[in-house]
């Protein structure tokens, strides 16, 4: 659903994600971790459709070096793609630093667009440590919660 970006890319669980090399897009192979954040917790009680919630959940925290290498500046949009799908969110410098190649997104529908389906017989999908590819997408627009929910009916 995002113009020039392949919406789903294939992953072999035994290898790293295949790259977009050749497509002219500078991208990074990363590990996506989702989790609780104070902002998400605080803003969800203000309202799931509130501006606060949108601002604190439709984001992706990256290592500053990674942001640089994507050729964008913090606050510009990035597109993240996993074997499940793609989503565009705002980039931010990770306040809780990890290593290069690890990106963080708060729980919410945006990151859910990327969560692989398999629970491997446990009931629990992979919500952390997901293989993903991230690219700068400054001119792609963010979807708010309403649009994103609408998009569910449309299928992949």
């Amino acid at each position: 659903m995002y113009g020039k970006y392949p919406s789903v890319i294939s992953f072999d669980r035994l290898t790293r994600p295949c790259s977009w090399e050749g497509s002219g897009i500078s991208s990074l192979k990363v590990t996506l971790v989702s989790g609780r954040s104070l902002g998400q917790g605080r803003s969800k009680v203000i309202g799931k459709f509130s501006e606060e919630y949108f601002r604190s959940v439709a984001v992706c925290e990256l290592d500053p070096e990674d942001i640089k290498s994507l050729g964008i500046s913090p606050g510009q949009n990035v597109i993240i793609t996993t074997k499940t799908g793609s989503v565009v969110v705002k980039s931010a410098i990770a306040s809780q630093r990890s290593r290069r190649g690890v990106i963080f997104m708060p729980y919410g529908l945006w990151v859910n667009m990327l969560i692989p389906t398999e629970t491997y017989g446990t009931g629990m999908p992979s919500m952390k440590g997901i293989e993903a590819e991230v690219a700068g997408a400054p001119d792609e627009k963010l979807m708010d919660l309403r649009d994103l929910v609408k998009s569910l009916a449309g299928g992949a």
Partner: protein
């Protein structure tokens, strides 16, 4: 003897539980009786004929065969508690194929769902396609997984193949997911393809053989030797293999064999050869 043919007559959306589809339970029944045999679809009990067209023919082999035709991926417990005879699924099968099976054979031409051969005690299950997770596992909370028999999967298998396995053999011609042989105490698992990792986690005994690639070996496994052949059931698999013992954390006497040629990145363990 006879061949009982069950062909699915409509698309299934709800889970169907049909543990009755087993030679032991149908062989004495007439077609009429088979048609009226009760099975579950979702939270409703209905007659087998509401889902299947039932027919039969006689054949020359001396045991009852059940032939299940159509996409049975929503149908659970096919061949459960089978002691003799055979079940052939022409298409995909759902979860719990061959649960509690102790004899006879089950053949699936397509894919099979998770918990294939759960609590299996004997007999033979063969799957042409892929299998889900927990192949040959036990029920939650018990230390009694597969007790005996043979499972052969031509495609890939998911996580925790042979979970709490106590005997028997599982052969995967494709790749295996995480933790094949988790908590196993005896029996053997062969993966001809690659393994996602953590082979033999917390195993106490038995054998896990990986012929393909495995990214890492668990730190609780001790490198023993380079073995030329690895023994699987009653055949010898030509190596050479790096042989490890473990899981040391469980005082495990288990053996993990990983093909040398597919895993050059494990060369580090050769430094322990002299020692």
């Amino acid at each position: 003897m006879r061949e009982i043919i069950l062909s699915i007559k409509r698309e299934l959306h709800l889970p169907v539980e049909a543990g009755e589809i087993s030679p032991d339970k149908l062989k004495e029944k007439s077609v009429k009786e088979i048609e009226s045999t009760k099975i579950w679809e979702g939270n409703k009990q209905l007659a087998l004929e509401d889902v299947f067209n039932v027919s039969e023919k006689t054949n020359d082999n001396d045991e009852t065969t059940i032939r299940l035709i159509g996409n049975a991926s929503k149908i659970r417990k096919i061949g459960s508690s089978t002691t003799s005879g055979s079940v052939v699924v022409e298409g995909n099968a759902g979860m719990y194929v061959g649960e509690d099976m102790s004899g006879g054979s089950i053949f699936v031409t397509g894919d099979a769902g998770s918990w294939l051969g759960m609590k299996m005690k004997g007999g033979r299950i063969e799957v042409k396609g892929n299998a889900g997770d927990y192949v040959g596992a036990g029920y939650r909370g018990t230390d009694l997984g597969m007790k005996g028999g043979t499972i052969i999967i031509h495609g890939n298998a998911g996580n925790e193949v042979g979970c709490w396995m106590t005997n028997g053999s599982i052969r995967i011609k494709g790749n295996a997911g995480l933790l094949p042989g988790i908590h196993m105490s005896n029996g053997s698992i062969l993966t001809e393809g690659s393994c996602v990792g953590r082979a033999g986690g917390q195993m106490r005994g038995g054998k896990v053989i990986i012929s393909g690639y495995i990214p890492t070996i668990l730190p609780s496994f001790a490198f023993e030797e380079i073995q030329e052949k690895a023994k699987f059931a009653d055949e010898k698999i030509i190596g050479p293999f790096y042989a490890f013992s473990g899981d040391m954390n469980e005082n495990g006497k288990g053996r993990l064999s990983v093909r040398v040629s597919s895993n050059p990145h494990l060369k580090w363990c050769e430094r322990y050869l002299e020692a």
